[in-house]
């Protein structure tokens, strides 16, 4: 950062013009000098020095006491000059941090990337949008050789970067489980021990884990304190909350998880989400889950992917396009 010199003769002429005429245009030009000086890192002392020199050029007979007062002013302004310098350094540091975070966010996207399964007889839609750069929500599909699909939806409590790092740990813990180990209750119990041992006490994870069997049209699932999803019954056009009991991961080492199973009928939908969906707020008003379901219903004629994207757009608009929390919505529709 090299401090440039202010153009003394230009400054002198302007000052002279203003002293003689009090002309507005000279003041306007002074404002421009101020802006340019900041852009070019010209220090405050430099500006005051230029002013003193210009004044001495214009008035060679400048009284000595005025000259002294200028030296005094220079001294008084020193701390402001330093503060400005510090501000500029901080701004640069902030830009560096921002770019490092965006590198980390891209890395996280790669590490946690997952492929939406293509299953015959079903239509699956997924949307997951972080509130900030790093996503604390997590969803993952595991394709087993027998044709079943493991589906994880999770939310790390504690936001931002630590939450995102934690998610990577969870993913690798899950991948290290033996492949015959795929019952939702067993998986959550094992994961709970991993999280309990390895994660900071104020951080914990809510997770819904499902084993989806497309051939048999069944889904078995367990929940570790995760926001309940919904089941849509096409037959009578109603939604039912998918309740599953279980404490969040990482709070007690002895947690056990109940496993539930249900059959999926033609035209039915399974809706999995994180609390970013149900905790949406419009100004001071909360969006009730009935409203979320209404919106889902209104788009239910669309394909699963178009459906989730439209629901997301709807709530994004309601919240003035500023998400308070990460937003993840997965919908599995059984073809009619």
């Amino acid at each position: 950062m090299d401090a440039l010199k202010l153009d003394l003769s230009h400054y002198r002429e302007l000052l002279k013009q203003y002293i003689n005429t009090q002309d507005e245009s000279a003041l306007y030009e002074a404002e421009q000098i101020s802006k340019r000086s900041i852009q070019h890192n010209i220090s405050l002392e430099e500006i005051i020095n230029t002013h003193i020199n210009a004044l001495e050029d214009i008035y060679p007979e400048l009284p000595e006491n005025i000259q002294h007062s200028m030296s005094f002013l220079l001294e008084v302004m020193i701390s402001y000059g330093l503060a400005l310098q510090e501000f500029q350094d901080l701004r640069e540091t902030q830009l560096e941090i921002k770019s490092e975070i965006s590198v980390a966010a891209r890395m996280q996207n790669t590490l946690l990337s997952t492929v939406k399964p293509d299953v015959e007889g079903f239509d699956i839609g997924v949307v997951s949008v972080p509130a900030n750069q790093m996503n604390g929500d997590y969803h993952h599909f595991i394709h087993h050789e027998d044709g079943t699909v493991g589906i994880t939806v999770a939310d790390v409590i504690g936001k931002g970067i630590p939450a995102a790092l934690c998610m990577s740990m969870i993913k690798y813990a899950m991948e290290s489980f033996p492949s015959e180990h795929k019952n939702p209750s067993e998986i959550l119990e094992s994961l709970n021990r991993v999280v309990e041992r390895n994660v900071d006490p104020s951080m914990f994870i809510t997770m819904f884990y499902a084993l989806f069997n497309p051939a048999a049209s069944t889904i078995s699932y367990s929940s570790a304190g995760h926001e309940p999803g919904f089941y849509y019954h096409a037959a009578d056009d109603t939604f039912e909350e998918i309740r599953a009991k279980g404490v969040v991961l990482g709070v007690t080492d002895m947690a056990q998880y109940r496993q539930y199973e249900r059959e999926i009928h033609a035209g039915d939908m399974i809706i999995l989400l994180t609390d970013g969906v149900t905790e949406c707020r419009q100004g001071d008003r909360f969006i009730e889950s009935e409203e979320v379901l209404e919106v889902i219903k209104s788009f239910s004629h669309l394909s699963a992917q178009e459906l989730v994207e439209n629901v997301y757009k709807h709530f994004e608009k309601l919240q003035d396009f500023h998400l308070r929390d990460d937003f993840t919505l997965i919908i599995i529709k059984k073809d009619v």
């Binding site: 939310d155 409590i157 504690g158 936001k159 006490p201 104020s202 951080m203 914990f204 809510t206 570790a224 304190g225 995760h226 926001e227 309940p228 009991k245 279980g246 404490v247 969040v248 709070v251 007690t252 609390d275 905790e279 909360f286 308070r324 929390d325």
Partner: protein, 109 residues
């Protein structure tokens, strides 16, 4: 978005009166106040949430830290007078089974 934390010492227990919203911005303040109480060996801490109309999952994190701290310091933590929306969070997350949460009763061990 604000939270006031008022601590009163009352007959051998610490009563924490909260008012406002508990979210990522206010949670650090609550955490500091809560842990300083649960870290006192054998202390009984009662948190009154009657005036808390919003809490997000960050708030749950604070109470989980508080719970862990009670185990290390042989102290007790109890949450009382929760509004429905806040209570629902403890219910969904299964935390009502591990933290002493009393939705209705006013004070008292």
């Amino acid at each position: 978005m604000n939270l006031t934390v008022d601590v009163q010492e009352n007959e051998g227990k610490s009563v924490v009166l909260l008012a406002g919203e508990i979210d990522a911005y206010t949670a650090p303040k609550l955490k500091e106040a809560l842990l300083s109480l649960t870290e006192k060996e054998g202390n009984k801490v009662e948190v009154n949430l009657e005036q808390v109309n919003y809490m997000d999952s960050t708030g749950l994190g604070v109470f989980v830290s508080g719970l862990k701290s009670t185990k290390e310091n042989n102290s007790e933590l109890k949450l009382v007078q929760l509004q429905d929306r806040v209570y629902r969070l403890f219910e969904i997350t299964g935390l009502i089974d591990v933290i002493d949460v009393d939705k209705t009763v006013q004070g008292g061990y």
